[in-house]
Every structure is written in structure tokens, then in C-alpha cells.
Amino acid sequence: MSSVSETAVPRERPLGRLTRRVAVLRRGGFVAVLVALPVVYGIRDLETTGSLSRLGENLLQGVSNGLVWALIALGYTLVYGIIGLINFAHGDVFTIGSFTTVGLIGTLGLTLATGPLGLVAGLLLTLLISMLTCGTLNVMIERVGYRPLRGAPKLAPLITAIGFSFILQNVALLWLGGLPVSLPDLIHAQEVVTTVFGIPIERADLLAVGTAVPLVVLFTVFVARSRLGQAMRATAQDAQAARLMGINVDTTISLAFLLGGMMAGAAGLIYALYQTTVWYFQGFQAGLIAFTAAVLGGIGSVKGALAGGIIIGVIQQISDNRIGLQWTPAVVFAYLVLVITLRPQGLFGVEGREAG
């Protein structure tokens, strides 16, 4: 999506045998890192129980978790693709999405007693409002915090992003307090709908897939087909040239923040209904997991965000289930470090874009 970084360390020297070996090691290491956990636990499952159904369960839940991370990762990847900023506050925008959902469920009076029709209508309205809230919030943050710093050294907007992250966390803290808040299990998330190959599929999985997939499809079509999406891609490629072609770069950037925020809002709703608890600090870890997903897939790439989200969701689920919940942050962050070290351009990224 962009030219080779101008600050890249000179790397035009001919590839020696050592360099080539390092490159092979890197690629092999990257693949090994990605498949390590499922393979190890798959073999262990086969040895102990002779069936892969537990791993399958992990994979399935990983995918539905991963769709949430993918939705958040879209926001990271879109913004990074256009203005080259790690929008550190994005995870906390997602928190606000969850909190809006909780607030609206209370306001609309949705309870376990609400009938199916009312529930669907209410949740759709909640989804819409929470997406709009997060989108608007994200646009406002960009307007106040990042636009004045456009052109400043890269670290300046990153620091304001961190500042906004803390501000949003505190807003959430004031909103619902410092302890995790549970909400009614409106969709009966744990209820098993059907069983495929011995793997139970829960209603929560259906919710995640049913909400995330249409949104991702709409998003992809918008970016790929619409005029505004075209403007967005043009700006990502070369902002100066895009401006010369008559594209309003500022509006386009705002649009990217709007779309990213909306996806985060949707993710916030799915997360709240899926986990049935929300916490003011949830966005910190969620944001970092989603950022890992974006980097893993290749930052700037939409399909990369999707693939990265699902992969990281599976890794996280396996770690939750096998290694222990309390170790999951360390596992995910270790993946982040390994991916950035071994293959900073990710799965679908352009070579030479991130390194240097």
C-alpha cells in the first residue's frame, strides 16, 4: 500500500549465504510459531483421549473469539494504512462500545423475559447506536488529538493516542465503576444449538459469526468498490498524490476513523453479549490482542486483519483452555514479539514496509 520506508536501514547489499539462511530461518520460524500450539495439543489429545474433539472445540471458540479481534483489528489496520499511526486508544473505543451496549440494554429494558422479536429488534438498535457512538468518538479523537499533529514526528500522535487511551479508560471507570459488571445473559450464550463432529456449537458462536461476517463483508465491499473506499485506498497509497487528484484527504482520514470505530463498536456489543461481563480495563488487553492480529495478518491489509484475528483468537483460546487463563496475556504478547521480530510485514503485508 505504500512505498518502501524512507528510513529503512540500507539493505541493498547482495544476499550472502548467511543472510539467505537467516531469511529461511525467519520464514520457517514464523510458520512454526503459528502452528506450534494447535499441533502440540492436537498430538497430546490424540495420545491421551484418541480424539481431536477438545482441540476442535478450542478451534471453534477461537474462531468466534477471533472474529471479535478481527473487527477491532480492522480499525487498527485501516488507520495505520492511511496515516501510519498505531491508534493506541482503539482498544478503549471498543470498551466504550461494550459499555454503550450495557447502558442501552438497561435503557431499552431488555431482560431475559423479553420476547424473541423484541430482543432481536432491541439488539439491532443497540448494535446500530453502539457502532455510531464508537465511530463518532473515534472521529472526534482524530480531530482533536491526531490531526493537529499530522506531519509531526511519528511518536507525537502515538503519545496523544496513549493519553486518549487513559482518558477513555477513566471515562469507563466513572461510568460503571472499577469492578467487572455483568449483564443479563440475553442470548443464552452457553446454550448448545447443534453438534458437528462432536463439537458443540453454542448460540454465542452463532452471534459472533452472524454479526461479524456480514459486517466484514460490507466493510470489504465498501473499501473495495465504493468511491469513498477508493479515495481511502488512494490516500493510503500516497496522500499527496491523492490530494492533487482532488480527494479531500482530511475527510477521507475521518472516514477511516469512523469505519474503524464502528467496527470496534460492533465488536464491543458481541463481546459484551458473548462474555456477559464488561470491565473498564478490558480494552487494554483486547486492543493489544487485536493489534497483534493486525500485525500478524500484515498491517494495512483488510484480509490480513481477518486472518490474523482468527489465528490469534485460536491461539488465545488454546492458551486460555490449556495453559491457563492467567498466562494468556503473556502468551499473546510473546506472539506479538515473535511476529514482529520474525516477520514484521505479517502474512499479507508488503516486504520492507514495517522493518527499518
Binding site: 505504500s2 520506508s5 524512507e6 528510513t7 529503512a8 536501514v9 540500507p10 492511511i82 496515516i83 501510519g84 499511526l85 498505531i86 482533536v144 488529538g145 493537529p148 499533529l149 499530522r150 506531519g151 509531526a152 514526528p153 511519528k154 511518536l155 507525537a156 500522535p157 502515538l158 503519545i159 496523544t160 496513549i162 493519553g163 486518549f164 487511551s165 487513559f166 482518558i167 479508560q169 477513566n170 471507570l173 466513572l174 472499577g178 490516500t235 500516497d238 496522500a239 499527496q240 484527504v249 487494554f284 493489544l288 493489534f291 492467567q326 498466562w327 496475556p329 503473556a330 504478547f333 510473546a334 506479538l336 514479539v337 514482529i340 521480530t341 514484521p344 514495517e354 522493518a355 527499518g356
Partner: protein, 389 residues
């Protein structure tokens, strides 16, 4: 708008050739003397000395982070890692934590009866510095090829990994009867500090703590200023300003960056060890990500790269954190008819400060000359982030 090159050159040349004037030197000496006798004017356990000890330790931390962020341009969001390792050096090597071992090196006789590893406090500080220099080089290694914002994320990830280990370390057996950490319970009590020429370090007399912290600040200032004006310091600035140009001018990139990490890390480790001893606990909850941002706020607020600014920033931020928020403005929300505690919002307030400073005065309150020029040029020019990649 282009950079005012002659002015920058002049600024650089002046710094190298011109020695500080005698009046300036005398001024600094007088300030130091005042700082040294200041605690005698207060009660030995007064809140003022308590706050000052913490503020002085933060000054050392902020100076260390400034070496990475301000001098070399490596944004470290996991600086808390060095606080953690410094603190654990004390927890491991100067407390009864490893009850199975019995090692005593240069400690008072009373401690010889206590099981565990007990090193002399100066040795502990040395170990903390070396350990953290090593750790920071290890953390730095994978970031060498990366751009600024990726460095920030990788260091953040390392900081969080270390925190997770600190929290869950109470379930890791590193040897028979020995755990890695004591998790959220914390390793406590730590050995009483005893240094030559100073009264014992107790809670009843905080002055020795103050003088220790002040001495550390003086040492740290000396090290930082000498490094800044050295060949290495110029190499850091060169790498920060333009990596490609620096490399083609013969600056050894790997060594320069790793040394910035090592120096900054060592300073973080030493101050972390002192802070842990002062708080008398090594507790996993101390090592949250927000602490890194707390220290970063000192550097940003004071002015990245500016030594005087960072000292000022550290004192200001710790004053805001320890006095202004919990004491002075604590009743503000209730007076306005709002129902929340201002201390909960500490980090929201620092978030605001970061945003305000970056937007209104990105060079900080006491800016460094070169940074100011660079930032003024950056904000004024009408380029977007995409073009500066």
C-alpha cells in the same frame, strides 16, 4: 518550512566548545547545597521528606527513560520492566525470601541469623544495574530493525510479559522450596538498608533515604550529562534524527542503540531497587503498564531530551500524583456535587496532560533546543503522516 540549519549548528557547537560559566556552576552547587540541607528543616518523618524521596527516585527513573526516548529516540513503553527487575533484585538478594539459602555478604551481624540471601545494599544496586542493563539489551535486540512505533509496542509487550510473570511467579518453583516471586502478596519485609556515614534507614527517620536518593540523582545527572556531550551522545542524536544518514556516517547502529537501552535500563534498575526498598515490598501490582506511562509523562511534560526539563517534569508529575490529586484537589468533585474519588482518575489526568502537552507544547515545558527546532518544523509543515513514512 525548513530547519534553521545554521542555528542548529551554532547550538551544537556552543554546547561542545563552551564550558558552563562559573556563575552557572555556582548556581547549581548552591541549589545542590540547599537540596542537601532541606530535610533538616523538616520533621524526620514529615510528609514532605516522604514525597521528596519518591520524587528524587522518579527523577532518576525519568532520566533513564530520557536516555532512551529523549536522546536516542527509542520510545520504550515497557520501562516498568526495569523497575520490576530492580525491585526483584532487592526481593531476591536482600530479604529472607529464599529461606532455603543462607548467603550473607557484607551485611550487619544481626542479619547473619536470618536465612535467605542478604547482600550489602550497594552490591544490590550494582547487581540491579548490571541485571537491568542485560535485560534491556535483550529486550532491545529484537527491536533493532524496527521503526519507532513498533519499538514502542514490542517494549510494551515485554513489560506486560514480565508483569504476568511477576503476578504468576508465586506458582513457579525455581528450586526446592523456592518460588520465583511472591505474586500479589509481595516480598516483604526487605532487609534494612545500612550504608556507611548514614544513620540506619528506618521509617522513623526518612532523612537517610532522602540523602541516598539525592546522591543517586547527582550521580545520574553527572552520567547523563557527560554521556549526552560525548561521542556516544552525539551518535544517539544522529540515530534519532536520521538513521540512514547516521549509519552512512559510520555510526555503529547496533552498539549505539543497545547502549541507549543498557544505560536507561541500568538507571531504571537502580532507582527501582531503591524505590522497592523504600516501599519495603516487591509486589506484582506495582509493575502495571500505567507505571511506564507515568514515567513517560515526566519525560514528555518536562521536555524530551532536555535534562533540566526531565528533572523538572519528574518532580512536577510526582508532586501532582502525591500531593495535588490526593490532598489538594481531593474534595473538588464532592464540592461540585459529583460522586467520585479524584484519586481513581489519576491516570485520566495524566492522559489529559499527555494530550495537552503534545498538542500545545510538544517540546515540553523546559525544551531542549534541537528538539524544539525539529518539532516546530514538523508541525508547521503541511505534510501528512503517510509521506513521512
Amino acid at each position: 518550512m525548513s530547519v534553521d540549519a545554521p542555528a542548529m549548528l551554532a547550538a551544537g557547537r556552543r554546547r561542545v566548545t563552551e564550558l558552563p560559566r562559573w556563575s552557572a556552576r555556582l548556581g547549581w552547587l548552591a541549589l545542590l547545597a540547599i537540596a542537601a540541607v532541606l530535610p533538616l528543616l523538616f520533621d524526620a518523618t514529615s510528609g514532605f521528606i516522604d514525597d521528596s524521596v519518591v520524587a528524587l527516585v522518579y527523577v532518576v527513573m525519568a532520566l533513564g527513560l530520557n536516555v532512551m526516548v529523549g536522546f536516542a529516540g527509542l520510545l520504550d513503553l515497557g520501562y516498568v520492566a526495569f523497575f520490576a527487575f530492580g525491585a526483584f533484585t532487592v526481593g531476591w538478594f536482600a530479604s529472607p525470601f529464599f529461606g532455603a539459602a543462607s548467603i550473607h555478604v557484607l551485611v550487619p551481624h544481626a542479619l547473619h541469623q536470618v536465612p535467605g540471601i542478604h547482600l550489602n545494599f550497594l552490591l544490590v544496586l550494582l547487581v540491579a544495574a548490571l541485571l537491568c542493563a542485560l535485560v534491556s539489551a535483550i529486550i532491545g535486540l529484537p527491536t533493532l530493525r524496527l521503526r519507532g512505533d513498533y519499538i514502542a509496542i514490542v517494549t510494551l509487550a515485554f513489560g506486560e510479559i514480565i508483569r504476568v510473570f511477576a503476578v504468576n511467579g508465586s506458582t513457579i518453583h525455581i528450586a526446592h522450596n523456592a518460588l520465583l516471586t511472591n505474586g500479589r502478596q509481595g516480598i516483604t519485609p526487605l532487609d534494612q538498608v545500612k550504608l556507611p556515614f548514614l544513620a540506619p534507614f528506618t521509617e522513623l527517620d526518612l532523612r537517610p533515604w532522602y540523602w541516598l536518593a539525592l546522591a543517586l540523582v547527582v550521580v545520574a545527572l553527572f552520567v547523563v550529562v557527560r554521556l549526552r556531550d560525548s561521542r556516544l551522545g552525539r551518535a544517539w542524536v544522529a540515530v534519532r534524527e536520521d538513521e540512514v544518514a547516521a549509519v552512512s556516517m559510520g555510526v555503529p547502529l547496533v552498539r549505539t542503540k543497545l547502549l541507549a537501552y543498557a544505560v536507561g535500563g541500568a538507571m531504571g534498575g537502580v532507582s527501582g531497587a531503591v524505590l522497592a526498598s523504600y516501599l519495603n515490598t516487591v509486589n506484582a501490582d506495582q509493575f502495571a503498564f500505567s507505571f511506564s506511562i507515568f514515567v513517560l509523562a515526566m519525560v514528555i511534560l518536562g521536555g524530551m531530551g532536555s535534562v533540566a526539563g526531565v528533572v523538572f517534569g519528574a518532580i512536577l508529575v510526582s508532586f501532582i500524583n502525591n500531593r495535588l490529586i490526593p490532598d489538594v484537589f481531593a474534595h473538588l468533585p464532592s464540592k461540585l456535587g459529583l460522586d467520585f474519588s479524584l484519586t481513581d482518575l489519576g491516570f485520566g489526568i495524566f492522559g489529559f496532560l499527555l494530550v495537552f502537552v503534545m498538542i500545545l507544547r510538544p517540546e515540553g515545558l523546559v525544551p531542549e533546543k534541537r528538539h524544539r527546532l525539529e518539532l516546530a518544523e514538523g508541525v508547521a509543515s503541511e505534510t501528512t503522516g503517510a509521506e513521512r513514512r
